[in-house]
């Protein structure tokens, strides 16, 4: 296992370097002059030169890349060209929103996906099974952003006045007060990692409201998260349901299931303890593989629900040609994606020893 782990980690290095190169090159290729887009079309050549000098844009590209890679390795993503703030601050502000959304979507997709898959497999070839699989087929075919809009329409307008009414946009109800933890803890001067961590926790509205014991804010934040999470998670839910159904149906034909039944175990025990546990390997894998789709879905859904997350930030930064911000977010998302995939691979190897050997 240790050797497998080391080999996988070493294989990660070229991919990480590749991610840095691709992002760096892509961002340099974005047409237009960042100076003109920041200082305005009428900025003088003198001003532009000073601007480029300040952000190191006058140096040769390879020099810029080495400096950039070195800085990234130290956790320094530079400052935003648009508003002069450290990019790490922007990351700490936007990332929690997207992570909360992705985690909730994943939770929703896994719980309901596995449940639906199990019900389908147990009721194999009945109306319930057919209905669930029709739902799953439609679920994988829905555009996330469209589902988001439809959910917003149904739960904010059609169900207005009922207990099911849910807010269609924003992170919190306008006017809700949730002070930053930097202020609460008197850490406004904090720097480096400490500042990043505190900012990150502070901007995770769910964590922050719990820490400050503002439970009404917590509930409000949760209610704002439901519709986007359902929209983002539905495709994955459908995929997980199909995979669970298939894996469980496979497992139910195995000899150990027959043995378990012959022992006189209840059907419930046979399915949950014997069949499902063995079917979990492919299910866990498919859940891990969903993370990319969930992140992409989050980008689209944040736009629909006007949520201040990574997606809306990337689109803004691209329009403003804010190089450092685009770079930082793209690199970070790719790294998260790669690391999650690695964890999935490792868990797969842990669960299935044959993988380790090959």
């Amino acid at each position: 296992m240790a050797r497998f782990l080391v080999r996988r980690l070493l294989l990660l290095l070229p991919v990480m370097l590749g991610i840095l190169v691709v992002t760096f090159v892509l961002v340099r290729l974005i047409p237009g002059d960042p100076c003109k887009s920041m200082l305005g079309e009428r900025a003088t050549e003198e001003k532009c030169n000073a601007f480029r000098e300040r952000f190191g844009l006058n140096d040769p590209i390879p020099v810029q890349f080495v400096r950039y890679a070195g800085n990234v390795a130290q956790g320094d993503f530079g400052v935003s060209i648009k508003n002069g703030r450290p990019v790490t601050d922007v990351l700490a502000e936007r990332l929690p929103m997207t992570m909360e959304l992705t985690l909730f979507a994943m939770l929703f997709a896994s719980v309901f996906g596995i449940a639906l898959g199990v019900i389908s497999a147990v009721r194999h070839n009945t109306a319930v099974d057919v209905g669930a699989m029709i739902f799953a087929n439609i679920g994988v075919s829905m555009p996330v952003f469209w589902l988001g809009l439809i959910l917003a329409y149904v739960f904010a307008l059609a169900l207005k006045g009922t207990p099911l009414q849910l807010p269609p946009s924003g992170r919190l109800t306008a006017g809700t007060d949730l002070p930053s933890l930097l202020k609460v803890w008197g850490m406004e001067d904090a720097q480096g990692l400490q500042r990043f961590v505190v900012l990150f926790i502070s901007n995770s509205v769910l964590l922050n409201s719990l820490i400050q014991s503002k439970f009404d804010v917590f509930v409000d934040a949760l209610r704002h998260l439901i519709l986007p999470a359902v929209a983002v998670g539905t495709i994955s839910l459908a995929i997980i349901a199909r995979m669970t159904r298939g894996a469980l149906l496979d497992a139910l034909t195995q000899d150990y299931v027959r043995v378990a039944r012959a022992k006189g175990l209840t059907e419930r025990l046979v399915i949950l303890k014997h069949a499902l546990r063995n079917a979990l390997v492919p299910i866990v894998t498919i859940i891990g593989l969903q993370i990319g789709g969930l992140l992409s879905g989050a980008v689209l859904t944040e736009t629909v629900f006007s949520l201040p997350g990574v997606g809306t930030q990337i689109v803004d930064a691209i329009t403003a040609r804010d190089y450092p911000v685009v770079q930082a977010f793209t690199v970070l998302i790719a790294v998260i994606f790669v690391v999650v995939n690695l964890i999935v691979d490792l868990s797969y190897a842990y669960l299935n020893p044959r993988i380790r050997v090959s």
Binding site: I19, V140, M142, P143, W146, G293, S296, V338
Partner: protein, 314 residues
């Protein structure tokens, strides 16, 4: 209980005989495909869409960019169908008017052309390039394999839509650039599939025989290996068309893809997303169109996978 026991009569023998009749692999696959429920529904949906796309001029009552200005018609008027009791003095608008006084139904109908083109073009391009890369990597092996596949790994390290967004921001917004971006991000999938398929095919005896007969490596690759290694690509490609249509619609939704007044479904949704509360029909119908199209290709892909699965050789 007698009826439930299969009687070994003439019927069963005839069935047995027809099963034993020699069938070409293609005929066998087609037969299995046409008997598959998913594939049937998928094919029906896609055929319908192709027909709509071909006869769009005849089906759509208005041009996709024609403004219908008439007294009594408001911007974003809801649907008006005479059969369902709508005032017959008003023009019939099956899906209502959009924010620019255009007939939404006509725009959705013309949109089918675009979506099918997007799906086929991007997937075709991605398959072509991905197949060449994957075949080269799998057949050559060694450092070429390493370089190509590590590059593919890097592309796969980005969530596909995000990479597509980044590429479009480099190339500039527009339909063609969206097609390019969506094609580029799907190349690695095909490269991987073809590579693994080539790896297994190239160990076959008939390849060794071909080599012994003095065939050139290129001839072996293109004439002997590739045709036998492409089966999985058919399945992945069909499912890939669905993803390509979804991704392109997503980019257009963000304003990075097709530009107005193009009747692209994602763009139509993006343009009207703020009117979802007062004119839900403008959001509802284009979304349904995307969903049905994607569903068609997903179902056909699933059916193809079942039909081509060697484990199901009944």
């Amino acid at each position: 209980m007698r009826e439930s026991i299969p009687a070994p009569g003439m019927g069963a023998t005839a069935r047995e005989a027809s099963r034993l009749r020699v069938q070409s692999p293609f005929a066998r696959t087609m037969r299995r495909l046409l008997h598959n429920r998913s594939a049937q529904i998928g094919l029906a949906i896609i055929s319908l869409l192709v027909l709509v796309a071909i006869f769009a001029d005849a089906i759509a009552p208005y041009a996709y960019d024609q403004q219908i200005r008439q007294s009594g018609l408001r911007r974003r008027s809801p649907p008006c169908i005479h059969l369902l009791g709508c005032d017959s003095n008003k023009p019939q608008l099956i899906m209502g008017l959009d924010g620019n006084f255009r007939d939404l139904f006509s725009r959705v109908v013309y949109g089918s052309r675009l979506s099918l083109q997007i799906g086929f073009l991007t997937t075709g391009a991605a398959i072509l390039i991905g197949t060449l890369l994957g075949a080269a990597a799998g057949y050559a092996g060694g450092w070429a394999d390493n370089v190509i596949m590590r590059a593919m790994d890097v592309l796969l390290a980005f969530p596909s839509l995000l990479l597509a967004i980044a590429i479009v921001s480099v190339l500039g917004p527009g339909l063609i650039n969206t097609l390019l971006a969506v094609a580029i991000v799907s190349i690695p999938i095909y490269a991987r599939v073809v590579r693994s398929s080539v790896l297994s095919v190239k160990e076959m005896d008939y390849i060794a025989a071909s080599r012994a007969l003095g065939a050139s490596p290129l001839r072996i690759l293109f004439v002997r290996v590739l045709p036998n290694a492409l089966t999985p690509v058919i399945v992945v490609g069909t499912l890939g068309i669905a993803t390509a249509i979804l991704d392109a619609a997503g980019l257009s939704f963000l304003g990075l893809g097709a530009q107005p007044p193009t009747p692209e479904w994602g763009l139509m949704l993006g343009e009207e997303r703020n009117s979802v509360f007062n004119a839900p029909h403008l959001v509802f119908f284009p979304g349904i169109a995307i969903m049905v199209t994607v569903l068609g290709f997903n179902l056909l892909g699933d059916g193809l996978r079942d039909a081509l699965d060697p484990r199901r050789k009944a």
